[in-house]
Symmetry: C2
Subunit: 133 residues, 2 copies
């Protein structure tokens, strides 16, 4: 429990892929529900720690993605963890409303059951409302 | 809650990377603890579903990795979920003993605290014992 090392050093030695990205898993801090997986780079990690609000790197839009900037469904950082290999981040967050762009709390709503995949949760909010379309 | 589709089709349309791999997050089914993140390919997904024992693809060893094959610390599959974008898998598992090669229950034992990273859990088992070295 005693060992500790400098944060900037630890961020610099994370195992980023060839695009400078590392996967980040977001978990609701109090319920333990796994909400989503997205990607971060060194700057979005630092911004997230500085602001207390989760900032990812959007691979599809090739820009910083401050979770909730469009939908208002922001993620407040409760804790950040790195894994043994320094190649994955675990974000303990407080998710306001749904994490998923479909309006569901979690993105992991497709459940393998027998030889089918079923959808076992419904949107909390109509995505049209979330994104004002 | 009604929609469903064929499992083989769903596995075939998962968003594998250029190496044919997709990230899989393993969560202890009863405690909610996030244990690790590793990679799967279509065959390891199918094997995991067929056997009920989690099989990853080891990028470092470039071979199938039946979790626990060396350490005995196997993962029994309780449920498998896909996310909205079909680019991440969530495995609800029953982890026998530690998931981490360091002998810790979870791989996410490095906690960011102030401007440091601290290790906030100790090994359950000496890794030397786990791997008989």
């Amino acid at each position: 429990m005693s060992q500790s090392s400098d944060l900037k050093t630890e961020i610099s030695v994370l195992q980023y892929n060839s695009d400078g990205l590392i996967p980040a898993v977001a978990q609701q801090h109090d319920t333990g529900e796994v909400l989503m997986m997205a990607w971060m780079n060194a700057k979005s990690i630092q911004e997230t720690l500085n602001t207390g609000r989760v900032c990812y790197w959007s691979r599809s839009r090739q820009k910083y993605w401050r979770k909730g900037e469009e939908s208002g469904q922001i993620q407040t950082l409760k804790a950040m963890r790195f894994d043994c290999d320094n190649d994955t981040i675990l974000l303990m967050v407080d998710q306001i409303g749904p994490a998923c762009h479909t309006g569901r709390k979690t993105c992991f709503y497709k459940l393998v059951q027998d030889q089918k995949v079923i959808i076992d949760s419904e949107p909390l909010i109509d995505p049209k409302t979330l994104y004002g379309k």
